[in-house]
């Protein structure tokens, strides 16, 4: 069974779209009552996932889109960032620090990256919306 996203957004895979997705995610988090630090972490992870799409997914191809699906429960937010591009390929390190995926991994409670049969890449990121450890 496929879950229906609570929010879906499709934008061109260009740098200016990243802020659009970030602001959308921020609005979702605030509507769900997440604290400021959690909102910041989710904005950063979403930004890094979209940056990967803009930089790598459609390199040498027709420009494509970034697709965002957001699934929310009371305690958790799952973001699915999808492209229809080349799939995960080692990127020549022309610039950048290669910090995107490590940052996403550090910011998420679960991270899954798959390459669907129809092409592209799906990055699924789950975030806890409530701090379950009061000492942290």
């Amino acid at each position: 069974m496929t879950a229906t996203a609570d929010v879906t957004l499709v934008v061109p895979a260009v740098p200016d779209s990243i802020a659009v997705i970030r602001q959308t995610v921020s609005g979702i988090c605030e509507a769900l009552g997440a604290d400021a630090r959690t909102v910041g972490d989710i904005k950063l992870a979403a930004t890094e996932a979209c940056t990967n799409v803009v930089l790598h997914a459609y390199a040498g191809r027709e420009p494509g889109s970034i697709e965002l699906d957001a699934f929310a429960t009371e305690d958790e937010l799952r973001l699915l960032v999808r492209d229809r591009g080349a799939g995960m390929t080692p990127a020549p390190m022309a610039e950048g620090l290669g910090l995107g995926l490590p940052l996403i991994a550090a910011l998420t409670s679960t991270l899954t990256i798959i390459e669907p049969d129809e092409g592209g890449t799906e990055v699924s990121m789950t975030f806890a919306l409530r701090d379950t450890n009061p000492d942290s």
């Binding site: 802020a19 630090r37 950063l44 930004t47 890094e48 940056t51 910090l99 940052l103």
Partner: protein, 123 residues
């Protein structure tokens, strides 16, 4: 666009130039930041002021690391201003990436000017 970032470069009489970032910065503003840094890179030290910055991602960190590397190659100082009142998200990404131990970070512009002058800055 909401939260769009601005980059402002300011010459300082008797001090190092300051590049101040306000708002949110990501891949869309990284080229402008890189260009501003290149303006100073080979001739001058630079202070990057992040006190009014509300978001940066790894694209921006990559540009800053490039600026730091070029400054070190030219034996010029390079510092970042990140005060106690700075947005927590900025300190968070520096800590997550370990870059808070890589950059010279100062709590105010004045302390950055003084600290970098100690590295051989303008008299």
């Amino acid at each position: 666009m909401t939260g769009a970032g601005r980059i402002e470069a300011t010459a300082v009489d008797g001090g190092w130039p300051v590049i101040a970032l306000s708002g949110e910065h990501d891949l869309s503003t990284a080229p402008e930041l890189r260009a501003r840094l290149h303006e100073f890179a080979e001739a001058d030290a630079v202070i990057i002021d992040l006190d009014e910055t509300t978001f940066v991602d790894s694209s921006i960190l990559g540009v800053l690391v490039g600026g730091l590397r070029r400054a070190r190659e030219s034996d010029l100082p390079f510092g970042i201003v990140l005060g106690d009142e700075a947005h927590p998200a900025i300190r968070r990404i520096f800590e997550l990436t370990g870059l808070h131990d890589v950059f010279p970070i100062y709590p105010t512009r004045a302390l950055a000017q003084a600290g970098l002058s100690g590295d051989g800055g303008p008299s």
